[in-house]
């Protein structure tokens, strides 16, 4: 396996990533919910796409339009009402440690020490104690929390708890990682530092990452590819060819601005929005 201990190749072009694991096929997935009042809601309508191994895909769209449902279907937390998801040739029938997820909410278990949180998945797998400790040490160091191994989560800040959640997911060395607006509840600066951390680690691990966000800036910083979801449908599939690292200068390039305009255009906002990068309130996630 690859880990953060190995020589770091600072994130370069997405093409350079060595493939690991198999592709993820989303094949005609639909998800219909019955509302309490009786009427039906199409959370997802016949969504199909394929993600190649090692891609970092951002799923972008307004809240309530199906992004999270898509991710939950891939996670196996939500059975689709139509179509299927296959990961490396195997159909998804339920949640499993081959597709761990970082949630929007704080899911670090407050009743476990930080180390036990990182080891949770390994313990479920039945990994031996020594091996477990080695792995958790490595990932705690990778997210910069080695001195907090024996702390309670309540003693950590929100950003630090997100690092714990990240370490817990990465410790499983899964081919596919799901992230549902993981940094949405953090302040801007913490979010930016976590972007850097995520990209650093990803450059070493090359997992396939699904990253749901409503923040276009975040998508431009992270993504190899952006999937646009609107009204439960896949409306566009964009390659992000920008060089990494995607600092302010890169994101100010004409092609980046063009990309942003395209995304906003799909979501129904005029070109003028692109300049001040403001997303009207009704689109932003609560």
């Amino acid at each position: 396996m690859t880990g953060p201990g190995e020589p770091t190749t600072t994130a370069g072009e997405p093409i350079d990533h060595p493939a690991r694991g198999g592709a993820v096929h989303i094949d005609g997935v639909s998800c219909v919910f019955q509302h309490r009042k009786g009427h039906l809601v199409n959370a997802l309508q016949d969504v199909s796409f394929t993600v190649e191994p090692g891609e970092l895909v951002c799923v972008v769209g307004p809240s309530g339009h199906g992004k999270t449902t898509l991710l939950r279907v891939i996670a196996g937390l939500q059975p689709p009402t139509g179509g299927k998801v296959t990961v490396a040739g195997k159909e998804v029938v339920g949640p499993g440690s081959d597709r761990p997820m970082v949630f929007q909410q704080d899911t670090v278990f407050p009743w476990m020490h930080v180390r036990d949180n990182v080891e949770f998945g390994l313990r479920s797998k039945g990994t031996a104690k020594g091996e477990r400790e080695k792995t958790s040490n490595r990932w705690l160091a990778a997210v910069g929390l080695e001195t907090f191994a024996d702390s309670w989560p309540k003693e950590l800040s929100g950003g630090m708890r997100k690092r714990v959640a990240l370490a817990a997911v990465l410790a499983l060395d899964a081919n596919v990682i799901l992230m549902d607006e993981p940094f949405g509840s953090l302040d801007y600066f913490t979010r930016r530092s976590l972007h850097e951390l995520l990209l650093d680690l990803w450059a070493q691990t090359h997992n396939t990452i699904f990253f749901v966000t409503h923040d276009i800036e975040e998508a431009l910083i992270l993504a190899d590819r952006v999937l646009l979801i609107k009204n439960g449908q896949l409306v566009d599939d964009l390659r992000v060819g920008l060089p990494r690292p995607r600092d302010e200068d890169v994101r100010a390039r004409p092609e980046a601005v063009e990309l942003q305009k395209t995304i906003l255009g799909h979501l129904g906002f005029g070109a003028e929005v692109a300049d001040d990068r403001r997303i009207p309130a009704e689109v932003s996630e609560p």
């Binding site: 196996g76 499993g96 949630f103 278990f109 009743w111 959640a165």
Partner: protein
Amino acid sequence: MWAVAIPILGIALFVGIWQALSVRVGIYTMPSPSIVLRHIQDNFFHSEYLVSHGLSTGSGYITHIAFTARNVIIGVLIGSTLGVTLGLLSMRSTALKDAVTPLAATFGAAPIFVAAPFFLIWFGIQPTAQVLMVAFYTTILMYIFSRRAAENLAAQYVESALTLGGTGGSIVRRIYLPGAIPEIRGGFRVALAGAWGLAAIAELLGAEQGAGFLIKFFATAFVIDGMFAMALLLGIVAVLFDRLAVLGFSYLTRWAEAGRRLGL
């Protein structure tokens, strides 16, 4: 300083009202606090009254309180273990939930005086009937409480555990159980507080020792001081055990954010 002074003032007020009432209605109807205290003092470790009335078991009140305490502790331990286990397992098994919930609701609605006679007929030997009665109601209460606690546990913890590869058993043991403890705490204290009454009633109806038995014994002989003393002792012991439970749970929930204390 006020934090200590006000409760003490409150207790003084309570004792004062008690004293005033006893003066008003007469000490033979309501013994004054000092009379009851002296009664306890005279009979706590060794009671001439009990010995002279030929009670073979227990020569002082303490033996009887200890008997009740033992029934309460054993009953509550059995009941809460069973109730919490059933309650949490039922979170992962609809069949178990469907089987147990209606039973818990129905039997839980039956007052102790309705269930007690059956326990006495079926398990008439003391202290089996007494312990089982406490265990029975504690099980029901803890089943309901632990289920509610687990239901109130944020869904994302369970989902997160699932995506990290957790399975049925480990989710009950490592997510539901620790996560539900803060809310189970309240239920446990309710069950424990109620258990003293249950045990006392169970003794009152069919045992030859214990606090409840003594209350009946005093009632038939119109020893009003004794009845008051036993009620007071039961209350004090219940408060002491409640404090112990609070201590135990504060260790079990040391990971939790300091919640809103009752800052009256």
